[in-house]
């Protein structure tokens, strides 16, 4: 006998939440600690080799977590948009060291290249870590983990509702702007014209969104949002496995060791 969609849903919610991948199923906060520790190692070690190498480590983790292709794209885009500029500007504008390539008033210097690589790689390591974390962990799971350690559900409401509101308000604004365009109100042309297209259109959109919060508040109040007392959760994250703690401990110790080592060197 075939299961109905409802029965399948009930069974799915009855079990621990899973994303089908051991890394992604790690406790979000433990995973956060691990990734942060790796980033700390990348930044603590002087030079650029470790930092760049850590970037590769992150990409590997991304693939292990089943989000490899998407993450790799983001990673490369980040290097192109951010890392490259950080490197190039430093390479060209640092005035100390030997000149490698003179270019009129500015020059590529050895110090510039070293500096640029180091700085870009370090910043990129931190960026890559943050992006990796959010590629692996859905916002909802992060919120659940935080609620489990006592963070108020109001905090998770504000965070999750922000994402949805950005999407909703963005869609509404686009509809209104398109309507304005259709009415012939210019959105191209001189600066002044464009500014004038902006103002009168958006204030009503924002005001409507603000007024809607009254009804939202009432609707959520009807669902006991303001009740004081213990809450339960439909979605249940699995408890952290022992190996997650081990990995975290190892990485944190490694990070501390490198930080201390780098300071003593």
């Amino acid at each position: 006998m075939a299961d109905t969609a409802l029965e399948r849903a009930a069974r799915r919610y009855g079990a621990d939440a899973t994303l089908g991948n051991p890394i992604r199923d790690m406790n979000p906060l433990i995973l956060l600690g691990c990734v942060a520790a790796l980033a700390a190692i990348a930044v603590a070690v002087p030079g650029w080799v470790v930092a760049v190498g850590m970037g590769a480590v992150f990409v590997v983790i991304g693939f292990l977590g089943g989000r490899g292709s998407g993450y790799l794209m983001t990673f490369l885009k980040l290097w192109a948009a951010v890392g490259l500029i950080l490197f190039v500007l430093r390479a060209l504008l640092t005035r100390s060291g030997e000149v490698l390539v003179p270019l009129g008033p500015i020059a590529v210097t050895t110090d510039g290249v070293q500096d640029g690589l180091r700085f870009a790689a370090a910043v990129m390591a931190v960026c890559a870590a943050a992006t990796l974390f959010f590629a692996l962990v859905p916002m909802r799971h992060l919120m659940l983990a935080l609620e489990r350690i006592g963070v108020s559900p109001r905090v998770s409401y504000v965070l999750l509702a922000s994402f949805q509101s950005i999407a909703d308000l963005g869609a509404t604004a686009r509809v209104v702007l398109d309507a304005q365009k259709a009415r012939g109100i210019e959105t191209e042309g001189s600066l002044l014209v464009r500014v004038r297209a902006f103002f009168p259109v958006l204030a009503p959109v924002f005001l409507t969104a603000m007024s809607a919060t009254e009804e939202r508040a009432i609707a959520l109040d009807a669902r006991a949002f303001n009740r004081r007392g213990a809450r339960t959760s439909l979605v249940r994250l699995r408890s952290p496995r022992w190996w997650e703690w081990v990995v975290l401990a190892v990485l944190v110790l490694a990070a501390l060791a490198t930080a201390i080592g780098a300071n003593l060197a």
């Binding site: 109905t4 969609a5 409802l6 029965e7 849903a9 009930a10 919610y13 009855g14 909802r140 559900p153 998770s156 409401y157 999750l160 509702a161 949805q164 509101s165 999407a167 909703d168 809607a212 009804e215 939202r216 508040a217 009432i218 609707a219 959520l220 109040d221 009807a222 669902r223 006991a224 949002f225 303001n226 009740r227 004081r228 007392g229 213990a230 809450r231 339960t232 959760s233 439909l234 979605v235 249940r236």
Partner: protein, 287 residues
Amino acid sequence: MTLANLHDVRFTYAFSERPALDGLSLQWEEGRVHGVVGLNASGKSTLCALLRGIIPHFHSGELTGQVEILGRELSEWDPAELSTTIGCVFDNPFTQISGIRDTVFEEIAIGLENLGMPRDELIDRVVAVVRRLGIEHLVEKNPNGLSGGQRQKVAFASIIAMDAEVMVIDEPTSQLDPESSEEVFEIIHGLKDAGKSIVLVEHKIDLLAAYADTITVLREGAVAMSGPTRDVLGAPELPSFGVRPPEVVELAVRLSGDGRDLGVMPMTRAEATRAVGTRMEEAHRAH
């Protein structure tokens, strides 16, 4: 126990010139469907807000008079307790979706999570409500992508899951197409069969005539008429309060004026068909 006992209630929203409720008195029994009709700005939504304690705890203003809900004075109710004892659904399908859950199943569960219901019970309750309202096909969908009618059904499911004894339903179909409106009224019918107390504000007088036990007509913040549905909707002075009688009532009144009284005031098409059929038979036999 009475559902609501209001005596000479007056309420003016803060910074407003005119009172929204002006000497309103009514008494409603539990376990019935109480329809509320009236022109816009006659105080219907204000009354709903008052019944749930939103006035005066959320909407500030000046409130006088006696308000008793389920046997307790309004001032004695804990606001959080009152708002979960009396469920509510209102007209905007978009503001009743929380926006913080990815599936309809999870959306419906929110109220039960907040009430601290154990997980197994919670899941069973959601499944039961989904089956009851016939929305199995929606459970895995993202609530933020649903149509107005679908959202409204999810809103109903979310509140019904909390199993409140009383529901205040404020113009649930005003933003819906006729098909979705019918489905919503079926839900209300189901609630009525389950013995819930319902306060239903509606403009669709024909649907109201079929489901409501009593009708209360509001005018300028006070009760103009209140009583059993048949009495109120059949009363000749109803239109003077800006309320159009149901089609079948208009038909019966016209026939009566022509000297062809039906003998009974029909409230639904079915009753009208029966009454006309009976009269036609009698007329046929008389010849």
